[in-house]
């Protein structure tokens, strides 16, 4: 009976959105496509997780909850950020709700916790989590990742810092977890190979409310600082630098979540001028993205950032693959092949296609925070097109090295 309730709500939603397309010829009511969606709606990660849901639902609503002629039924699971719960929820979706494919989950640990289950269930999965090796040294044949790996955006960022900005001496600071390690080490490799030197690395724990002790350690003679923060930590770091009067003295290049649009409201003018590198910007000037941003503001009253764009992009990939197999998602192998073969010109993040390990080859944007008409935005100041997770190294050479970690590649210029 509870099951009924959830479905009824969805059907109501679909009906409401479907009114717009009432004039279209009625397509025979096929069995719905059952789409699993794992996100986080409670606890500290909820901000991103809720945006993920909004970004996905917006896409589906715009299509009248119908893809490739079939209605789409979404089964949402709140993992609370716990890997064990993620696994149970996914089992529930696969074994009881019989989902055909899945989008999510948010965090890397949860994604890795269901990795082997996805293989054994042969479940086409559109991932949002960023851990490098999920599409590198331990690729999952049932994965596509329409976003990027952790290091996929920091490598071009380093290129930009070394070549365009001409920075020579830099430091890095990031949350002391794999996401931060992979970003900073990818940055380090490209930056040092282009003649720069990383002279300082700082790793604050994830749950530190006060960065005073790290600010005191920060070298003052750096050309720039790479900041690889997640969640709201990027905001706290910049804010506390301002407190110490250092905001204007430290030039910064942010990772893909450090200067997220969702933090603008909190950051205010402190953010103006911050550089960052990401596979998305809400200020991206394409009709698709302008419409998306406008709708997100109107429907949910949020500035869409990384997470909303992530699921919206995955939804585009899902849509395109469904079209390609003519809605026949039951043939998992064929659907998976279609997902991997996706080559869309027009998603909110721009064109997307996949490499043979399932990671997106797409644009990475260098962005600068500007205030335009009283509103902060991540203005795109440079675009790296067709960026692969292997940067310029080529798959084979790249995978011959160990995965990026806290101490690999080793920093030889620390002072």
């Amino acid at each position: 009976m509870k099951q009924m309730k959830r479905r009824t709500v969805l059907k109501g939603l679909a009906a409401g959105a479907g009114l717009a397309t009432l004039g279209a010829p009625a397509i025979a009511q096929a069995n719905p496509i059952r789409l699993g969606f794992l996100t986080v709606k409670t606890g500290p990660l909820a901000s991103g997780g809720i945006q993920m849901e909004q970004g996905l639902m917006l896409y589906l609503k715009n299509r009248g909850m119908k893809i490739a002629g079939r209605p789409v039924e979404v089964f949402t699971g709140d993992t609370g950020g716990s890997p064990a719960v993620t696994r149970t929820k996914l089992q529930e979706m696969v074994e009881r709700d019989k989902i055909h494919c899945m989008i999510g989950p948010l965090d890397t640990a949860s994604a890795l916790a269901v990795d082997d289950y996805i293989r054994s269930a042969e479940l086409p999965t559109m991932s949002v989590a960023a851990a490098d090796d999920m599409t590198q040294r331990h690729p999952n044949p049932w994965f596509v990742r329409g976003t990027s790996t952790s290091s996929q955006c920091s490598q071009p960022a380093a290129d930009y810092c070394a070549k365009t900005l001409g920075w020579k001496r830099m430091g890095t600071i990031a949350d002391d977890l794999a996401y931060g390690h992979e970003m900073c080490s990818g940055f380090l490799r490209v930056f040092e190979e282009n003649g720069g030197k990383i002279v300082q690395k700082l790793w604050p724990p994830l749950t530190v409310p006060d960065y005073g002790t790290y600010i005191a350690q920060l070298k003052t003679d750096l050309d720039g600082l790479f900041i690889g923060f997640a969640g709201s930590n990027g905001y706290r770091w910049v804010h506390q630098l301002t407190e110490y009067g250092l905001r204007d003295k430290v030039r910064m290049m942010g990772g893909m979540t450090a200067v997220d649009e969702s933090l603008f409201k909190a950051m205010g003018d402190e953010a103006v001028g911050l550089l960052s590198a990401s596979w998305y910007s809400a200020a991206l000037d394409t009709p698709t993205n302008r419409k998306f941003v406008e709708q997100m503001r109107k429907d949910y009253d949020v500035e869409p950032g990384f997470y909303a764009a992530a699921t919206n992009t995955e939804a585009s990939v899902f849509d395109a693959a469904c079209q390609a197999v003519d809605g026949k998602v039951e043939d998992k192998a064929a659907f998976m092949k279609a997902l991997r073969a996706t080559d869309i010109k027009d998603t909110v993040r721009g064109p997307v296609k996949f490499d043979d390990l399932g990671d997106a080859i797409a644009s990475v944007y260098i962005r600068r925070v500007d205030k335009v008409n009283g509103r902060l935005q991540n203005t795109v100041i440079h675009t790296y097109e067709n960026v692969s997770q292997f940067w310029t190294y080529g798959e084979k050479a790249f995978l011959a090295n160990p995965v990026y970690s806290r101490d690999y590649p080793p920093a030889t210029h620390l002072e």
Binding site: S47, P205, A216, Q240
Partner: protein
């Protein structure tokens, strides 16, 4: 040189923040033997209420502090009167209930204030760094330190010179004896719990300009409160005071000098103290 000066100041400032967080915890713990695991949630709720109060009253920071303190004090009073009261002596029940409240508060804060961080603006006159001897340090952190010291003095005077203080001290020493000489434990407990909650709530607002209000602040702060109180000894104001600053120094210098131990640096001294001197530096033996 600059590093040592700034880190020392940082340690004092963090110590001040920790005292605001943990003095209430220590009072409640010491007098009522309630390990209030909702204390982190009180701190976070205070920050949220404070920032909303500021929005209502045109941005006056100190009214926000009072609002945060009062709001959480009321909640604490309700919690004590109607729930904890029934559980006197049932330590596990208290653990369960306070944790339950921590869950509820955190979840409802998410509903009420959303998942994005909310900045708590410091008063504009202290919102810029102070420059001295070629160094810069946030003025507001001096304010936190000052408020913490002032709070410590006020609490000390209350505890040492007033009737209420005498009753609390008697209760901490030996509750049965205190009852015997006619102290109404019932009222005393409510007052102390409200006071402890108010300190946490006000502390949340005062810490806000540094930490901001965000989901997860509760879980980040609670272990800090536990560490301070264990180090200093429960029920001892002096203990909470010294413990706060000791942790401030251990944390700031420990992390800078032994960055690889960042995740355990808070808990090592706690274990050492507990093993070597289970009552904490200034407390009495627990039970």
């Amino acid at each position: 040189m600059q590093f040592w000066v700034i880190q020392t100041l940082n340690s004092f400032a963090l110590g001040g923040l920790l005292f605001l967080l943990s003095s209430g915890f220590s009072l409640i713990f010491g007098l009522m033997r309630v390990p209030n695991l909702a204390h982190g949630a009180f701190f976070m709720l205070g920050a949220y209420i404070g920032v909303s109060t500021m929005g209502q009253v045109g941005g006056n920071f100190w009214l926000g502090v009072i609002g945060g303190g009062l709001g959480v004090a009321v909640l604490g009073g309700v919690l004590e009167r109607f729930i904890l009261r029934r559980l006197a002596g049932n330590e596990q029940g208290q653990v369960l209930v306070t944790l339950g409240f921590a869950f509820i508060i955190a979840d409802l804060c998410l509903v009420a204030w959303g998942g994005d961080p909310i900045p708590v603006p410091a008063p504009s006159y202290v919102n810029r760094p102070l420059f001295f001897a070629g160094l810069a340090f946030p003025t507001y952190r001096f304010v936190v330190l000052g408020v913490a010291v002032a709070m410590a003095v006020v609490l000390h005077v209350v505890m040492d010179r007033t009737r209420l203080g005498a009753m609390i001290r008697a209760g901490v020493d030996d509750m049965q004896m205190a009852r015997g000489i006619g102290i109404k434990a019932s009222q005393l407990f409510t007052i102390v719990f409200c006071l402890g909650a108010a300190l946490a709530g006000a502390g949340g607002v005062l810490g806000g300009p540094i930490t901001s209000a965000y989901p997860g602040l509760d879980a980040d702060m609670l272990p800090l409160a536990l560490v301070v109180v264990i180090l200093g000894g429960v029920g001892s104001l002096l203990g909470a005071f010294v413990g706060s600053f000791a942790i401030g120094f251990i944390y700031n210098f420990g992390i800078a000098l032994f960055p690889d131990l960042a995740y355990v640096i808070l808990f090592l001294p706690m274990v050492l103290v507990l093993v070597w001197r289970p009552q904490g530096l200034f407390g009495r033996l627990l039970r």
